[in-house]
Symmetry: C2
Subunit: 274 residues, 2 copies
């Protein structure tokens, strides 16, 4: 019997998954989160499937030591290439960020043309196309890898810069020509340049942020599985804990700038030991 | 007694160190190289000192299993933060890429103003400033981290692009104002956009490529230590071997485009086991 009071494990290759953690905090504020960011081995987006499966397994072994009741793979790349494999090895619910985003895009599109921007490994996996076609066979799907978006977001000073807008224009040119009307932000870093992407794509195009959809999917799942934490336990200081594989300082600085809670409970662990 | 026929270990966080391996092949063509690129954990440039020291130790333990007679740390970030510590733990010669570049810059400067561009961790370590001041106390040193240069080089399609030139102009603006006359390319990726950097800086500024200087330093060192491979053993097929921590395909593709030798001898290893 799973412990309803147990925390939810959320992991990402680094800081990007905090956009998912933030949505979970907003949608299900009385749940506890144990977040892991693999900051010593970030990024995942250009690495091979086997390496990402290995890293995901190590992280899940760590999260299991924290007695989590469910796991959210808050990284598109890990969701794309590792989720199906690791799910079969666990007896707690595991959700990724792909399906919720794909489902929302399918309901949002009017002209049945959906675009996806993501890392190289996510795009090459073809998983978004596969999931969308399974949901609604008539839809055409166009993917585009945008490898510079993650470093541009992490650089910090280029977030609202004409240079980033110019790079976005280049990357998104093909998607505009294909006349997609819905665009999935298929990497957890991309919501941080959401308005810039929206400007480049134009008002006609609906942007889908899987972070938001995933939080809603998690909420429904906890309810179905009778895993919701008791009502009224409320949001309190120290509710959430954060772990990273590299030094904590930079992570804490970024996390504090985007999360509505304290991130003082941040520790470094040696993920290679798991 | 060290084996003169043994190979030289060369390592980097990924593919950048191949620019150093290439110079070694040019300068000392009959030496054998065992190259390791940490492609599963790349990049190092934004990660902490402790993590980079740990990774460097694992790589050195691996290279020692290959019975290398000397080690070249062909990564500026690892040279900056890990070299002094790991050198004391080894009984074979170990050289980095910092000292050779610093020495050349000191001889090249006329106005005694040297600039350094490198990763965040290298710049924050202050090691170039420290080494240059020890060599020649009157010189002023200006450092600038250029975190987007590595992803721009690795992206591939932006190498000769106006966007890269615009980003370079922004990064280098401060160094131009300081009127440096010598600029150290303090990251092994940067020689790949050398001419673009040269255009931005102008003809007055001498660009120093530590890869070239390091190969010369290694040559002198092997001679002094009586470690040169026997004359006439020559360059032959399969002389060099390459190891990476992620899948081999992408690495081989890049390596083949810049090296004068075959890279068919490339294998993936699990570096975390060392």
């Amino acid at each position: 019997m799973a412990d309803r009071e147990a925390p939810i494990g959320v992991f990402d290759s680094g800081i990007g998954g905090l956009t998912v953690a933030r949505e979970i905090m907003r949608q299900i504020p009385n749940e506890r989160i144990v977040y892991f960011g693999d900051t010593a081995r970030v990024p995942y987006g250009s690495k091979s499937r086997d390496t990402i499966v290995k890293y995901s397994r190590q992280i899940i072994r760590f999260l299991m030591t924290q007695k989590v009741k469910a796991i959210v793979v808050a990284c598109n790349t890990a969701s794309a290439v590792a989720l199906e494999e690791i799910r079969t090895e666990l007896d707690i619910p595991v959700i990724g960020v792909i399906k919720a985003g794909a489902r929302t895009a399918v309901s949002a599109t009017r002209n049945k043309k959906i675009g996806i921007i993501a890392t190289e490994t996510t795009i090459n996996s073809g998983v978004y196309t596969h999931v969308i076609e399974a949901l609604s066979p008539g839809i055409s799907v166009v993917g585009k890898a945008c490898p510079l978006f993650v470093p541009l977001v992490e650089e910090g000073t280029f977030l609202k810069d004409p240079i980033t807008e110019e790079i976005a224009s280049r990357y998104l040119e093909g998607l505009k020509k294909e006349q997609i009307d819905t665009l999935i932000l298929g990497c957890t870093h991309y919501p941080l340049i959401r308005s810039l992407i929206g400007r480049v794509m134009g008002a006609y195009v609906t942007l889908v942020n899987p972070a938001y959809e995933t939080a809603l999917e998690l909420k429904a799942l906890l309810f179905e599985e009778k895993l919701c934490r008791a009502e009224g336990s409320g949001l309190q200081e120290g509710l959430h804990t954060f772990y990273v594989s590299d030094a904590t300082e930079k992570f804490q600085q970024f996390a504090e700038s985007i999360l509505p809670c304290s991130v003082r409970n941040t520790s470094q662990i040696n993920i290679e030991e798991y």
